[in-house]
């Protein structure tokens, strides 16, 4: 007889499923302003507590409190709120285009707008983002042409990517936006390599890496952290923990055993965990990590705690795997409403201005959409010639022969 009882296999489950009451009672939300702000030269081992808390700046009343509250110019606050509104309006309009059959696919970032917008505003010209598909805010808070974005989504004759990429997989070197891959996590190590190159060349530019909670399970996440640990390049390693990877809750990626931020500790990389729905926290924490990188102090990992209000994409129905009302119960609230209240509290914004801004962006995006649609929808206007171009810098003989076979 063995002394051992039979082993049992464990598969994590979220606390609630469709039909259940949303329950975030286990989710601890530290008081705004309660988390310390270390000096940027602090060693990773002396700030491990910051990977298991949540850095928050805005309190329930919308006031900015504590050591992470920065004195920000009004223009930054205005641009932040307006860019988040613009991103939300863009998502709504593009979703409609998909429902109208004008594009095959779309992905919204509802509830996560503060993260991309806040960090992009903290970066400088020449820095490079290596985004996932849910950081459209990086482009929408800059002056990247809206019509070009929509033409990419419509895969039409003015699509900057010539119809080759799935909608929303933008690419723009000039705007610090690396070409998006549908293979998840691959860009994380690219960001580290890019930052290594910046250090090798004695440049002053830094890289910003992006990944979701689910994709931290990919080997490229580990590769990126190893190289970041070894060579200490100027890179900000963002993890957007929006709780859901399509239908898998963050526990399936290991999030129940330790925070995603804690993964940096084994690599000796400073790590912060912050409220991703708090624009002021996003901006301040990003600035801290960016300053560290630019001062040659090396990488920082940041886990942004947020919630994916939207479906994963236009191809799934979240009510099949989580309670419908869960996003409304999310304890960190709506990032747009929170920043709006902060600005109103400071006398910089009003309900009227908010409604006006929403109307302004709705009209801007409608107008850009009308123009984009004149260049075609759902692949109209794309050219079969573009199948063969840019596979290589110069077209090799076998591709010339294949192109001739389809007569273009």
């Amino acid at each position: 007889m063995s002394d051992y009882a039979p082993l049992s296999f464990k598969v994590p489950e979220p606390e609630v499923r469709p039909g259940d009451e949303p329950d975030f009672s286990h989710f601890e939300v530290p008081r705004a302003g309660s988390v310390r702000r270390p000096d940027i030269e602090t060693n990773a081992r002396d700030m491990k507590d910051l990977a298991t808390t949540i850095i928050r700046v805005m309190n329930r009343d919308g006031d900015a409190v504590g050591p992470w509250a920065m004195k920000l110019e009004d223009s930054i606050l205005h641009h932040g709120l307006r860019s988040m509104l613009r991103t939300r309006a863009f998502d709504e309009r593009m979703m409609k285009l998909q429902r109208q059959g004008k594009t095959s696919f779309y992905m919204k970032c509802t509830g996560e707008e503060a993260i991309a917008v806040g960090q992009q505003m903290a970066l400088s010209k020449g820095d490079m983002n290596f985004p996932t598909y849910r950081q459209q805010g990086l482009l929408l808070c800059q002056d990247y042409p809206l019509v070009d974005m929509i033409c990419q989504i419509l895969s039409n004759s003015r699509d900057p990517l010539h119809g080759r990429q799935l909608p929303i997989m933008y690419s723009s070197k000039d705007y610090g936006f690396f070409t998006i891959s549908g293979n998840l996590g691959t860009q994380y190590i690219h960001a580290v390599g890019w930052a290594m190159a910046s250090a090798i060349k004695g440049d002053t530019k830094i890289a910003s890496a992006w990944i979701g909670d689910g994709s931290t399970a990919e080997t490229d996440f580990h590769s990126a952290l190893v190289n970041a640990s070894v060579y200490k390049p100027p890179v900000v390693l963002n993890i957007v923990n929006n709780q859901w990877a399509i239908s898998s809750f963050q526990g399936i990626a290991g999030g129940d055993s330790a925070t995603f931020a804690e993964r940096a500790h084994g690599f000796g990389i400073p790590s912060l965990r912050a409220d991703g729905n708090d624009f002021l926290a996003v901006y301040a924490v990003s600035k801290w990590a960016i300053e560290r990188a630019r001062r040659n102090l090396g990488p920082t990992l940041i886990e942004w705690v947020t919630y994916r209000v939207a479906p994963h994409s236009t191809s799934d129905d979240p009510s099949q795997y989580r309670p419908r009302e869960e996003s409304a119960a999310w304890p960190l609230g709506d990032p747009v409403l929170r920043l709006k209240n902060h600005l109103i509290g400071r006398g910089l914004w009003s309900e009227e201005r908010h409604v006006q801004a929403e109307a302004e962006f709705d009209e801007e995006i409608r107008s850009a959409t009308r123009e984009a649609e004149t260049y075609g929808v759902m692949g109209e206007g794309s050219s079969a010639r573009d199948i063969f171009e840019e596979v290589y810098k110069e077209m090799p003989p076998h591709l010339v022969a294949q192109r001739q076979k389809i007569g273009v």
Binding site: I189, K201, K393
Partner: protein, 338 residues
Amino acid sequence: MARMNMIEAIRSAMDVKLDHDPDVVVFGEDVGFFGGVFRCTAGLQKKYGKSRVFDCPINESGIVGSAIGMAVYGLRPCVEVQFADYIYPAYDQIVSEAARMRYRSAGDFTVPLTIRSPMGGGIFGGQTHSQCPEALFTHVAGLKTIVPSTPYDAKGLLIAAIEDDDPVIFFEPKRLYNGPFDGHHERPAQNWSGHAAGEVPEGHYTVPIGKAAIRREGQDLSIITYGTMCFVAEAAVAETGIDAEIIDVRTLVPLDIDTITQSVKKTGRCMVLHEATQTSGFGAELIAQIQEHCFYHLEAPVERVAGWDTPYPHAQEWDYFPGPARVGRALKSLMEAA
């Protein structure tokens, strides 16, 4: 001109590029201080510094992935994967990222990256130090795949690869590093000092990517091959007395089909020969193209000699390796075929 073996020629190519182009960087496992397990980077770190030539964690996807990031920044990395058998962890980065970057970004981001890796058997390396995985890369749009067979070609092709603006897979037949091995493992090893292709210019030159070489002119049949098998073919031809033409493909993609076609049309008989496993090997592509272009010139079915479709064994290496006796038998049967 200098006398070089293939290791020295490969090192010389990187030396020339590191010297001429400040954007060239060289890295991989053990390539820095130690100079590589096959010594291909010996002395380069001392000469160019740790920012240009350095050691990496044992993480092939990280080596290739970070090299892609560097290439996107504007550098021209030349990385080493210690054995071709270790390249699989990097496969997603090579296939989904390096190969696709120019295409998916419409030229906005490009990857001028060279991945060097020793391949092939004949060193008693067993299944994890002997494989020839070239067909896994020739199948991928956006990559160029090169297999040199001499010191002269290795240097000229490696310089061309580093200067190329697209990602290049550069497989080095490791049994050829020290000499032109003809498959006669029972005989004393040859070195490159007695071979014309061991004469290598010390400075800059290139061998064009996409051009095959005729290693031996002949009238009876054509052997289409590359890497170590070029010398095995020479031995088999000498031993059988068959007047074969030997084509060293050198660049698998893009393929110099014109040189191959001209030879096969002239001889009317053809053998495709490689060390890699047979099924879906690069030989299958060669045969498909040869029948497409030369069908009415062929006097016999195209013969294929390749590695058996098994993992590369350790103790039975010489039963596995397609040596001159096996190639010779196939040559004779090809000459006797209708």
